[in-house]
């Protein structure tokens, strides 16, 4: 277990344009830290800088308490799993797993013992004598994982390790990697472009976009309080619906995309900007109406697409030129072209400053507890 600290780290290839800039983050010992962002955002480059495979052109990288900027990769006490696994095709699974141990001139006997232990942990025992090409994608992935584990380094880096697997196997390996990380207590830095992986695996996640940090935090906090519209649409599936809105002081209503009018509670008015703003609402916060719904909270939309996922129904509609989506739990029989009544609450809106994109008002906490938090006397 070791801490990894990045202080004002930046990277440029031509000494003019920074592809990564102002990275300040401390990854705690034993933490599962996920770097997530769209492709080309610099997340892999950042990981490779931590690994020592790319030069750091600005700032300081500390591993443990030591400055590691110019340490060679093998002196950084870390292991890495590559996207294409980087298995040696000419070596058997066992030799692949023990490659790093052999480099360190460990005794053959001990190498074999360790390889067997790790193979057992990952269910690879019967494949030890095979070549990588004789394995399935999932098994290769495990070999790559075994190679990282057997080195017993305190830090493990993973670069999109699950992107070559099919959906089912990916879901399985997600929990497996998480389990292994917990039981070994290693510090994990995990790169992915898949927000589901980020949400489900990370203790904390960092969202990168165009080489800049957008937000760092616990997955659920990022989901509830996205720092800007980019994060709001990147995290969550389907993404948060966004639209331009203006506050009308005379009626104290929020006018969304010139179409919807939503009354604003009196104590919230002061917090709203005088000018226009961007509002966002998660698809699951667009509700079906109930008999108790007040008429002024309801608006009608024309359905443009419907997806029934078994236990939930997602339908889309146009609002202010943007496609919005609503997610209702249960199976709803909706046809394209139907006019649907939809209810929206001011509480569940996220409001962003139009210029800076900063979050002005977040949604309320919808979290539920199994046990009551406060025990009544």
């Amino acid at each position: 277990m070791k801490r990894v600290e990045l202080i004002d780290v930046s990277k440029s290839y031509d000494k003019q344009v920074d592809v990564i800039s102002n990275i300040n983050v401390t990854i705690e010992p034993g933490e599962f830290f996920v770097l997530v962002g769209p492709s080309g955002c610099g997340k892999s480059t950042m990981l490779r800088m931590i690994a020592g495979l790319e030069e750091i052109t600005g700032g300081t990288l500390k591993i443990g308490e030591k400055v590691a900027n110019n340490l060679s990769p093998d002196k950084r006490d870390l292991s890495m799993v590559f996207q294409n696994y980087a298995l040696y095709p000419h070596l058997s699974v066992q030799q692949n797993i023990t490659f790093g141990l052999d480099v360190k001139k460990m005794k053959k006997e001990e190498q074999r013992k360790k390889a067997n232990e790790v193979a057992e942990m990952l269910g690879l025992t019967e494949y030890l004598d095979r070549k990588p090409r004789e394995l399935s994608g999932g098994q290769r992935q495990r070999v790559a994982l075994a190679r990282a584990i057997v080195s017993e380094t305190p830090i493990c880096l993973m670069d999109e390790p699950l992107s070559n697997l099919d959906a089912k196997l990916r879901a399985h390996m997600r929990s497996e990697i998480r389990r292994i990380q917990r039981s070994l207590g290693i510090t994990m830095i995990y790169v992915t472009h898949d927000q589901v992986e980020a949400m489900t695996m990370g203790d904390r996640i960092m969202i990168l976009h165009e080489g800049k940090i957008q937000q760092i935090g616990k997955p659920i906090d990022i989901y509830n309080y996205p720092a800007n519209p980019f994060v709001a649409t990147f995290i969550g599936s389907p993404p948060m619906n966004l639209a331009k809105a203006e506050f009308n002081p005379s009626t104290s209503e929020l006018v969304i995309a010139d179409e919807l009018r939503l009354p604003v509670p009196i104590d919230e008015i002061g917090k709203l900007p005088r000018t226009s703003m961007t509002v966002g609402v998660r698809p699951e916060n667009l509700y079906p109406i109930t008999p108790e719904t007040k008429a002024e909270d309801v608006f009608h939309v024309e359905v443009t697409n419907v997806e029934i996922l078994g236990n939930e129904t997602v339908f889309s509609f146009k609002l202010g030129g943007e496609e919005w989506m609503a997610k209702w739990s249960g199976q709803w029989h909706i046809d394209i072209g139907d006019r649907m009544p939809v209810r929206m609450e001011f509480e569940s809106l996220s409001i962003f400053d139009e210029q800076s994109g900063e979050l002005i008002k977040g949604t309320i906490d919808y979290g539920k507890y199994v046990k009551q938090q406060k025990v009544s006397p």
């Binding site: 690994a51 020592g52 495979l53 060679s72 990769p73 093998d74 002196k75 870390l78 292991s79 890495m80 590559f82 294409n84 980087a86 040696y88 095709p89 000419h90 070596l91 490659f99 790093g100 480099v103 360190k104 090409r133 190679r147 080195s151």
Partner: protein, 298 residues
């Protein structure tokens, strides 16, 4: 009639395949199969001046050749030539390819230079070497003179001639081997090296455990091609030494040429060609049998 119709219909795939193969079958027949069978046919005959079969002699041509000291000498020279050129060419080419595979500024220039000998014809480069080997005005003897070393009759001394031809051949062949090996090196997944760097593997460890095994199919290919090439060397012999002095560089293909087009003995020339064919065949089969076990195809 119906039976023929059925066979005709059933063989539609075969006929389509034959049609696709036709162009290469025609080309191969004209330039490879016909000359090959003609050579085998001629090797059993004595011929007249124009190369037509005259008297059928059976295996006598072969018996004569195997007993002839001239042919034995030619075989020995060929064997030595192969031993001198093939290993050194490949080791040097591999060394240069490893150097040129590093990511350095201006490496493209070196890559072009190292592979440039591929672009020079055997005739042209042989003439250049002919000048360099010249005993009085050649660069090598000048150099020896400057260093106060005794002069060498590069192409005129029977002790040195084969070595001199080998040196120039190595130089000529390096370009091609270099290019093939460099291509093989660049095909190796960069991630394998990155992964091993994280494990702390040094340069020679990586060379031994990653580069060479991953390069083995390419190495195997280039060794096979170089062996066959070395057995078939002709151009540089014709220009540099004409088989001399005292037969010391009379390699087998040159000997075939002399037998056929100077002595007009097409029968024995064909017999030599058949023997050369068998030798190359056996060497290649042996190489596949022994070498393939050590080759890792992906």
């Amino acid at each position: 009639m119906t039976r023929i119709g059925r066979v005709w219909r059933k063989s539609v795939d075969g006929r389509t395949a034959a049609l696709y193969l036709l162009p290469s079958i025609i080309l191969f027949s004209v330039f490879v199969f016909y000359p090959m069978f003609r050579t085998i046919y001629l090797s059993f005959f004595l011929t007249d001046q124009t190369g037509n079969a005259a008297i059928m002699v059976g295996f006598e041509n072969f018996v004569y050749l195997l007993g002839s000291s001239e042919f034995q000498n030619s075989m020995k020279a060929t064997g030595l030539f192969v031993l001198y050129t093939v290993p050194i060419t490949i080791i040097l080419a591999l060394f240069f390819a490893l150097l040129a595979n590093e990511k350095l500024k201006g490496i493209g220039f070196f890559r072009t230079m190292y592979s440039s000998t591929m672009g020079i014809s055997v005739a042209a480069s042989s003439v250049i070497w002919l000048f360099m080997f010249n005993p009085s005005i050649g660069m090598f003897n000048r150099l020896l003179g400057v260093l106060n070393l005794p002069q060498i009759q590069w192409l005129l001394d029977p002790e040195w001639a084969l070595l001199s031809v080998s040196i120039s051949t190595i130089w000529m062949n390096i370009g091609f081997s270099f290019l093939i090996l460099l291509g093989g090196l660049q095909n190796i997944d960069e991630h394998l090296y990155e992964s091993s760097r994280i494990d702390g593997a040094g340069y020679f460890y990586r060379l031994r455990r990653i580069t060479l095994p991953m390069l083995s199919p390419t190495l195997f290919f280039i060794i096979t091609i170089s062996l066959i090439n070395a057995f078939q060397t002709f151009g540089q012999i014709d220009i540099l030494t004409k088989g001399g002095p005292s037969q010391s560089t009379n390699l087998i293909v040159y000997s075939i040429y002399r037998e056929a087009f100077i002595n007009y003995q097409f029968g024995t020339a064909s017999a030599q060609a058949v023997i050369l064919f068998l030798i190359i065949l056996i060497v290649t089969i042996l190489q596949f049998k022994l070498g393939e076990r050590k080759v890792h195809y992906q």
